[in-house]
Amino acid sequence: MKIDLTDTTASKINKALVQGRRAIGTPAVGMVLTMVIVTDEENAYDSVKAAEDASREHPSRTLVVIKRHARTPRDRTRSRLDAEVRVGSEAGTGETVILRTFGEVSEHADSVVLPLLLPDAPVVVWWPVDAPENPAKDPLGALAQRRITDMYAVEHPLDTLETRVRSYAPGDTDLAWTRLTPWRSMLAAALDQARTKIISAAVESEAENPSAELLARWLEVRLRVPVQRVVTPGPVVTAVRLGTDNGEILIDRPEGPLATLTLPGQPPRTLALKVRATSELIAEELRRLDADEMYAIALRGDGIKENS
């Protein structure tokens, strides 16, 4: 069911949540986390949909914070909070509250979010677009154990990557890194099979792809070899080559969901390596809520700087 509240407060929203739950007959809930999505009106629909799909694996309370920009100066001075409360079948397996802030309250969205967090449960903040420069220092980011940004959604990903390196705090994570898990998993499995020392490496991708850069940095740290970046027409990451004394380990994905794995002295074989939907990425992010140390290491690209 859906309850609309105009010019409201957090305590009225809380009441509406209880009322909504009573009405659908499930007063006890098994939600495991609160997900805060900070976005604009344009991206809200897709993000909420992805979060609701992900909530099938991780039942959660989703709070969507949408900052509205008023057109006239008079509206801009007036502060207002509107909310849309969805429970039951409207909201995946959890509950969703869409918060629209107007005027001054937009600067204090954390005061609205704080009373709506589930007791004792972890908090995750996700910025599908327009992530702050320093997520951990952001008022909403500071409420969360886990802060999800997405370097695919910025104009200059590689510049943003450097900003992320500087502002990294434990709990930060980026969907550009999440997208790499199948690649990294297959590379590790390929190396399990090849069992040999790697002497060179190359990552091929479209230009300015942040995932490719993270993958290259990760390989550099782990394999202790320089990694060559090769630009191809894409889409996204197209191949990884690891040089060994007996030949090359190659995972090649020119396009589509099928990749080819070639190991030295063995015939090539196909691998399923699909570009995943946002909801799957979010579901993976929510599986672990502690700091992702390997992301920090890959982000910095250098094990020595890690301690500085």
């Binding site: 990294r184 099979q193 069992r195 190991l263 691998l271 399923a272």
Partner: protein, 528 residues
Amino acid sequence: MSTTSDQESAPAKVRVPVIPGTAWTNPLRDARDRRLPRVAGPSGLVIFGVTGDLSRKKLMPAVYDLANRGLLPPGFSLVGFARRDWEDQDFAQEVHDAVREHARTPFREEVWQQLAEGMRFIPGDFDDDTAFKQLREAVEELDSSRGTGGNFAFYLSVPPKFFPKVVRQLKKHGLANAPEGSWRRAVIEKPFGHDLASARELNAVVHDVFDPDQVFRIDHYLGKETVQNILALRFANQMYEPIWNRSYVDHVQITMAEDIGIGGRAGYYDGIGAARDVIQNHLLQLMALTAMEEPIAFDAEALLTEKLKVLKSVRLPEDLGGHTVRGQYAGGWQGGEKVIGYLQEDGIDPRSKTDTYAAVKLEIDNRRWAGVPFYLRTGKRLGRRVTEIAVVFQRAPHSPFDSTATEELGQNAIVIRVQPDEGMTVRFGSKVPGTSMEIRDVTMDFAYGESFTESSPEAYERLILDVLLGDANLFPRHQEVEESWKILDPIEEYWATHGRPAQYASGSWGPEEADEMLARDGRSWRRP
């Protein structure tokens, strides 16, 4: 400071598919990198009896689901062995159909293609030397073309009478001997014998060919999330363990009920019965997990040590007639359907004494459990399909409320629901709202489906992955199997010489004698 020490100690726990004898470690794996899933190392799976029901409904879908979740190595290969005149592609088609029908995860063409490339089929009998020669050639061919690295698990999804023949053939054709730096494992399904002597005989046959550590006995109950959660519940939390003993627990009931009859399994079931089919393996394993002491580590050896201690301290009631019950379902109405009795089933001797219901009372002679009875029951054609463990607590030693206030208050209980609707219920008393003091039972519920929706993999997925990883935590060892038979054999012997099974109406919760058995102790069965 604490984080640095964590980092230093963490790599020791990393699960890299290490092959004994070599010191190579994969630089791309790290204990801190918890996104990378537990992917099995290079390996292949050979299934004997691949055309059977279990293989089609459980094994093949589980293999596909594992591949779909990216948990199988790139060159994973599946070899089928059966008496069919099939080519590789016919076999692939058969697997395809089975996966389409029974897999848990959605069908994806690219995953299927990756899997289908590694499928081979060997037609033949278990006596057929040429077939096993072909199998050996196929295994060698897969090593070179798919990089399986000589690592193969042989899944014996065949009736136990064929076990000796198959393992001997594997030995004869050198398939059981792992080349240097690789492994060969055998996977077998219950029943593991029908009494202690036959279990020992079977173990001897299998261990003659495979190292005992490389033999994986599947008890699919142990692959279920809730069963693994028993250990998490007890040993990862602080609030249950202090009351998990004779000072607070009154008794424990472990139930596995099925609503179906024997179906087409008359040939297998008659002469075996419910106790051998279910109590010997599933229920005694559940009891061991519920009752065992804390293992020193969560590894196969430590778990075996603790489970064995429990099984060895089990004491049977002196009066077996008074504290064990067996029954046979009679015709009747079950859930709106008219069903026939066991003795009327096709292929069953009308004078059969096989039990389709069995209930036993066991005690565990140790400091924690002395005097706390464990009631185990199982049956076919009972009220509904359910498996659960109920730990029933003693009443409060003193109640400040008068007896009218607590009239409706039962005993506190923790119920672990193994299937269906996996989860846990805590039952306790609560005041009924109103002006008078009245206390009634309420329940607090944790359901897996609510807090972790859709993430529970099928038991077989977990178990097959564990076999490929060589992780034996969830597999009963031969010592446990033998100890379990030592518990059950005297009961079966008593039943063989005393009386006949009681008749119970289909769709009920068992014979009256079972209710009387608990009434004698001043208790009653829970309605699950």
